[in-house]
């Protein structure tokens, strides 16, 4: 069959390197969504991403944009430092759940509460991926991990933390939505949310975050297909999807 014209390929904001992520990992999907949004908004030449500690530490291998690698949990501070220094840049802090919801809780709470004009993409896969599947702050009750071999017992290991709900009550947060990538429909909702977040940042409206429930088939010991099912059936039940906050912060 003869190809005539490319309708949809790899976004310009991504290069052609093959990503290091495992088969079926949500990072690749979200990287592509971010890149598509960057293309659509025409912000590639003024975009800076923050790569966290975790599986996406090398996110900068794949983007055709500037990137800054941050220490574990500190991505919102690094992102805000860049944004304060150069407000004309569009800055994205890309973080996983261990990074954002455990070691980095102080930085994310205060960046949100100060209304730092950055966008956070929060990948919640309920597990520490890079270190080999240990319990994350977001690991579900009863979920097995390499440090909760019998399943997470909240009496011993506490409860899964609901970050979007937490940040939404802060007066400084502008827009908080939780989405997932389990189907084309959900992927497109995620894309709309990320686009909205960047647009709000471009208007200077303050802190925006999209939490994406994302599969980690390798560390969940599931096939990629079953991992999607785990998100749909188990994660969404505890972490409901939707917009948690969408109101202007600064009324002057």
């Amino acid at each position: 069959m003869e190809k005539k014209k490319l309708i949809r390929g790899r976004p310009d904001a991504l290069n052609d390197k093959i990503m290091h992520y495992c088969p079926g990992c949500g990072h690749g999907i979200v990287h592509r969504i971010v890149a598509e949004v960057v293309d659509e908004l025409g912000i590639k030449d003024r975009f800076v991403g923050i790569a966290p500690v975790g599986c996406s530490v090398f996110a900068y291998w794949y983007f055709n944009t500037d990137f800054h690698q941050a220490a574990h949990g500190r991505a919102p501070a690094v992102a805000s430092g860049i944004k304060r220094a150069r407000p004309e840049l569009i800055v994205m802090s890309y973080q996983g759940d261990g990074d954002l919801a455990a070691i980095g809780t102080a930085e994310i709470v205060h960046a949100a509460n100060r209304g730092e004009n950055i966008t956070v993409i929060f990948i919640n896969n309920a597990i520490y991926g890079m270190t080999g599947g240990q319990m994350a702050p977001t690991t579900l009750i009863g979920q097995k991990s390499t440090t909760t071999p019998l399943g997470r017992d909240p009496r011993k290991a506490g409860f899964p933390i609901k970050i979007s709900e937490m940040l939404a009550v802060l007066p400084g947060s502008r827009y908080i939505e939780r989405t997932t990538v389990t189907s084309p429909k959900e992927v497109n909702k995620t894309k709309k949310a990320i686009k909205k977040a960047f647009e709000l940042q471009m208007k200077g409206e303050g802190f925006t975050m999209v939490e994406v429930l994302s599969p980690c088939p390798t560390n969940w010991r599931l096939t990629p297909k079953d991992a999607l099912k785990f998100v749909e059936e188990k994660m969404v039940e505890y972490y409901p999807l939707g917009v948690f906050k969408d109101e202007p912060v600064f009324n002057d």
Partner: protein, 356 residues
């Protein structure tokens, strides 16, 4: 040139902003909070960034971001706060980012106290942080030098793409002296455009990172850092001598920062008693003036090290003299600044040890 009475902390702040500091990030801690208070007024006046963050851990990472974006930026803190910043300092060095960090030292360990001390010498000079880390460490001994060193620090930091560290103490931060306010430095705001995160417009993307997974690559990067450190050792050693001209000097006192001022008086008092005493004051604590101190050791001149700690720079002096002369030590601690009399008495003690 105009001279104004200023607190050391304020002089440090004014010096930094005249050196081109565009962003100040900080968190309150005694005895350096005046830096942040001063910056909170002055930076907005100049259309620059002042931000009080939620912690020192966050502060150093705001600095990491802003430094990566290529702007002149700084933070200040005091001992326990500097400890909290250590991880970030390693990242700054590992990613080769210029910036200014100042420690207005108080007594430790732990929460310690809020009195002047020099107990963070090891932390500042030996790499309080992980990895093979070095920074130029400047030790002012007057309010004027608080201003001057802060003003010059950014040029020095950009020259090596490495943080510059000012090690002051609570006394220098809090005391007032007249300061000659030198003019705003001229500098090229686009100097860092070749590597900073300014947006990949008409160029390849820039990446600020300190991770090198391949052993060969990691080693090669460390060789590159070592080459920079060697160059600093060659070009940036700064020190000051007082009354050291005689060949048959009786005793050399080595002291830095606030302690060096007491020791200068002690040298005068010793000379009034007929002792040919001299003072060597390291201004850069790293790179340390090793060769300069060895000159005296080669001549068997006994050395007395005076510090506001229990003997930290002492170890660098011992390394410098390579056992060629007697090295004695006098230290007071955490708010107790020795009097010139005490130093004189100790010097006589030292002289007795070498049979003088």
């Amino acid at each position: 040139m105009e001279k104004v009475m200023m607190k050391g902390n304020e002089a440090l702040a004014e010096g930094a902003l005249r050196g081109g500091c565009q962003c100040y990030f900080g968190y309150p801690i005694t005895p350096q909070s005046e830096v942040a208070e001063y910056m909170s007024r002055r930076m907005p006046e100049l259309g620059r960034v002042f931000l009080q963050t939620e912690s020192e851990v966050a502060t150093i990472n705001y600095l990491y971001g802003a430094a990566g974006a290529g702007v002149r930026c700084m933070t200040t803190s005091s001992s326990p706060g500097i400890s909290l910043m250590q991880e970030g300092i390693s990242y700054l060095i590992g990613a080769e980012l210029p910036c200014l960090i100042a420690n207005v030292v108080r007594g430790g360990p732990g929460l310690g106290n809020i009195q002047p001390a020099q107990a963070d010498y090891w932390q500042a000079t030996k790499g309080g942080t992980h990895g093979d880390c070095r920074m130029i460490v400047l030790a002012p001994n007057s309010v004027q030098e608080m201003f001057d060193f802060a003003r010059d620090a950014f040029d020095l930091a950009e020259k090596y793409r490495n943080p510059v560290f000012i090690l002051a103490d609570g006394a220098l931060g809090q005391m007032m002296e007249p300061v000659e306010l030198k003019p705003f430095l001229e500098f090229d705001p686009h100097k860092n455009d070749s590597w900073a995160t300014t947006g990949a417009k008409n160029r390849e993307p820039h990446v600020i990172t300190s991770i090198h997974l391949e052993p060969e690559e990691m080693e090669e990067f460390n060789r590159h850092l070592q080459a920079k450190y060697l160059l600093m050792e060659k070009e940036e050693v700064r020190w000051e001598e007082y009354q050291t001209n005689e060949d048959d000097l009786d005793i050399l006192i080595v002291a830095y920062g606030i302690a060096s001022r007491v020791c200068r008086n002690a040298v005068d008092d010793l000379r009034a008693s007929g002792i040919k005493a001299g003072l060597l004051r390291p201004i850069t604590l790293w790179p340390f003036p090793k060769a300069e101190i060895r000159r005296f050791a080669d001549r068997k001149i006994p050395i007395l090290v005076v510090e506001l700690n229990m003997g930290q720079m002492l170890e660098d002096v011992l390394l410098a003299v390579e056992g060629k002369t007697l090295v004695d030590f006098y230290g007071r601690y955490a708010g107790i600044i020795p009097s010139a009399d005490e130093v004189v008495r100790k010097a006589f003690d030292t002289l007795k040890k070498v049979g003088k």
